[in-house]
């Protein structure tokens, strides 16, 4: 299959945090809402969850001159080229699609949560009830059908756009010029390049939960190169892995607050 790499560009300088993307994602992917509380922020749900694959992070920030800014960052899967999650996934549930994005096949997911700890962006989320991991697949079904991802389609301001990797990298740097260099392009310089990129108005270190130099953890590289090949021999090995996981980590602990109906 011919591979055309796509990149979704998130231009935070155009984002009004209307959260149309957050709702569109739930609608297209048929993800339920949970009953939340206001914890003193517009950001809600407070973090990514198994049923919330994208989220606007609201951050009140004053720089060293005391200039105040309210930063909005749409968080979600970055769709890495060197994807730690794919490297650690023992069952093949996580995989690279023909668009360079990271797809997920829940049928194959064994709920080992290796991807959860491996992801440098802390994206995959585990559901206690289904015992599977969930995350954004950049609307693989829509992309395959020549459609934009639901979040991009919903964006009223043009903060979200998608196109071929080359075109979007070019667009990103053109936008940076337009901003007189007052911004940062984020995503093309690490983990082999991500398929979600940002234009940030501030230094990446300023943003909550955004790694400045994301990389595939050393343990994952070790895992991938030394042990993973053995685990893919067959289902027995998969079961073995689960057993191993049980021995190391113990039984699943319920630490998510189950609230409200789904």
């Amino acid at each position: 299959m011919e591979k055309t790499e796509y990149v979704k560009l998130i231009d935070t300088t155009k984002c009004t945090a209307c959260r149309g993307c957050q709702v569109a994602c739930k609608q297209w992917n048929e993800m339920p809402a949970l009953r939340t509380r206001n914890l003193g922020s517009y950001q809600n749900p407070p973090d990514l969850q198994w049923n919330t694959w994208t989220l606007i992070r609201f951050q009140e920030y004053a720089n060293k001159n005391g200039d105040f800014k309210w930063l909005f960052r749409k968080d979600g899967c970055m769709h890495c080229t060197e994807a730690a999650c794919i490297k650690v996934c023992p069952s093949g549930a996580l995989y690279h699609t023909e668009f360079g994005t990271v797809g997920i096949n829940q049928k194959l997911c064994i709920g080992c949560k290796a991807c959860v700890s491996a992801c440098p962006f802390d994206v995959p989320r585990f559901n206690q009830e289904t015992e599977k991991v969930y995350k954004c697949d950049l609307c693989y079904d829509r992309l395959k059908d020549g459609q934009q991802p639901a979040c991009v389609l919903s964006c009223p301001t043009g903060a979200l756009t998608i196109g071929t990797k080359e075109a979007m990298i070019e667009t990103a740097y053109q936008r940076l010029d337009q901003l007189d260099g007052k911004g940062v392009v984020y995503g093309d310089k690490f983990v082999g390049g991500t398929h979600v990129m940002y234009i940030l108005s501030e230094d990446p270190a300023v943003y909550d939960k955004l790694p400045v130099k994301p990389r595939v953890p050393a343990s994952v590289i070790l895992w991938k190169n030394l042990f993973k090949p053995f685990t893919l021999i067959g289902m027995g090995a998969v079961a073995g892995m689960a057993a191993l996981h049980y021995l190391i980590k113990g039984p699943h602990e319920v630490h998510e607050n189950k609230q409200g109906g789904e």
Partner: protein, 807 residues
Amino acid sequence: MTNHYIDLKNSDVILIMGSNAAEHHPLAFKWILRAKENGARIIHVDPRYTRTSARCDYHVPIRSGTDIAFLGGMINYIINDQKYFRDYVVNYTNASFLVSPDFSFKDGLFSGYDAEKRKYNKDTWTFQMDANGVPLKDPSLQDPHSVFQHLKRHYARYTLDKVSSITGVSKENLLKVYEEYSATGAPDKAGTECYALGWTHHTSGSQNIRTMAIIQLLLGNMGIAGGGINALRGEPNVQGSTDHCILYGNLPGYLKMPTASLDTLGRYLDKYTPKSNDPQSANYYQNYPSFFVSWLKSLYGDAATPENGFGYSWLPKMDDGKHYSQLHLFEKMYEGRIKGLFAVGTDPAVSSPNSNKTRKALEKLDWLVCSNIFDNETASFWFGPGVDPKQVKTEVFLLPAAATMEKEGSQSNSGRWVQWKYKAATPPGDAISCGDIQIRMMDAVKALYAKEGGPNAESILNLKWDYKDRQGNMDVLKVARQINGHWEADVEVVENGAKKIVKKGGLVPTFGMLKSDGTTSCGNWIMSGSFGADGENKMTRRGKDDPTGLGLYPNWSFAWPVNRRVIYNRASCDINGKPYNPNRKLLEWTGEKWVGDVPDGPWPPMADKEKGKYPFIMKADGVGSIFGPGMVDGPFPEHYEPLEGPLDHNPLSGQLINPAIEIFSGESDQVHNASEKFPYVCTTYSCTEHWCSGALTRWQAWLLEMQPEAYVEIGEALAQELGIFNGSKVRVSSARGKTTCVAMVTKRFTPFTVEGRTVHQVGMPFNYGWLYPEDGGDSANILTTTVGDANTFCPEYKAFMVNITRL
């Protein structure tokens, strides 16, 4: 909007004041961002740093209710530093007109004030006339009686120090905004203003907008691409509903609701048909009788004849001097004088001010009919907090209505674009459209009147009421065509210079052809032309051609009036019809005709003394009103404090509050000014995630997940003072009620220095209600005051006083 959403991209400076555009007009905001990408400066002036502020070049915090002081200071700056566009001011505004020598302004009061009635006699708010009855002018603008000199004197009092002390805005910030915005006074620059409920929800709401209108006239920003005064109106079809007279004083197309003393059609038309003796003034409203009589014909059809004054006597009349706003309705309900209420698509138990009073008023009703897509706090008031259902006698009906996507019809956006939409889904269960509900109800009422008679039965029995299809459902196209207008007789007309006979029943192609003799009918004159004579529904047009390159898209939908995209567009050209800004050419006079947008009338520009006309054709004098005697509270806007505020004096005059507002002084209308009990200024608003009162969106789990419950936004300094932590529960109270909610401690509210002391402001969304979600808190309107703007009675939701305690 005088302009339209796309036109925002043509602006050089956009002042967003009285609006949280990004949160409440998220789609429209893209055009503001487009302007920014083109190099425009975007300024946000607002008490709170919002999602709008985040995308602007900068944010300037201002104390709620002090916009006139802020803008008055800008007028002072524009005049002192001669930033005004002199040619424009002299030719296109009434700045040169000479005001009556009897007009005066002293200590916050204009001449003619009657303190007992809280009302002005406006006899001195007039112009001096020459022998022909044309206003006297001084084009040098030097005459001390000229509007310009009055303006200069009036706003000379609005010094930087004074304005800063009132508004709490630093002098640096004031100057920064004044300088940047007034730079658009250059002939080739465009500045626009976006406002919304942040300006209208005040006791001086109309005057907030008037102040900006004066600035726009001084800077020559009216009638140009990228300019104008732009009310951002909401998704609930606010534009369409006001066009079709949702306000009590209006009839369709902003015609006036008659009062009892105007007992004949002649007296009524005489009062509302403006006159001008200036041959260069088009005074387009002189056609008022054509619009009004055609409307009567649409109402009563063949029963409306010249002999019976076209049924004028059947119209209900308002009592002279009485008002019928929502505030007044609930006042009368509270007093037990109103027995029944239809609440259609509305949730006043959440959205009306002073909820405790509003909810109590509902208990006094005999019956209440609600029509909505969900149950809401109004329909369920009888088992609300603190209400014993056994004690409530009101009989309540809840009629299930179709949602907007479940019906066909027109929807008008803020830019006056009337866009046709089709039904996307069938309403569930027994739900039918509100139109169908009205039709069934009126059918029943008519049948009862036919059988039993009753007071003023003719007004019901003569009502033309043929809007059903063969199945007996509302035929929305029949309604739309009636709104456009029909010929009521075979008439000879002149079209493109040629005479022709049009047939009775045909569609009138434009309001210019409406007649006052009963040969035309039209349900709403401004909508005339929404259909072509050939039957084309222009509201369905979706042409994407943009011949001017300015984003007018003349073949996309229909814009009233007559598909004009920018109102007063002749003012974009000089008196010879040459565009002031050739790079943004909205219109140009070729010597024979206007080219570009649909011009404000076909006449040549005003330099042609014989045939030329002034550009502001809807104004009797033909020019923009810097002096505006139409307002009830003064021809120049003046700063007054909100009804309830932090000060015990007005730093500018002896009048603390707007002297022309009506005071509601019942037991439930306590007001505490400058009170230690309620020391913090509070304002209310909605949030992006909920729509209006939240009566529709709170039931939507995805939206509720994002904004799950009521909160109060509190600045860090105040929170620290009160020992309140982010996310903790607090009680917010006012002289009228109290409610509990979550504290959102934020850097986005900062304290103001007002008259030398620190004033804190907080803010709350009003879009929550006790019914659903059950633990989501209640409406912030429990705290607000029953008071409205002096001109419109739009409630003062945006400024009142509260206390906050940690729970």
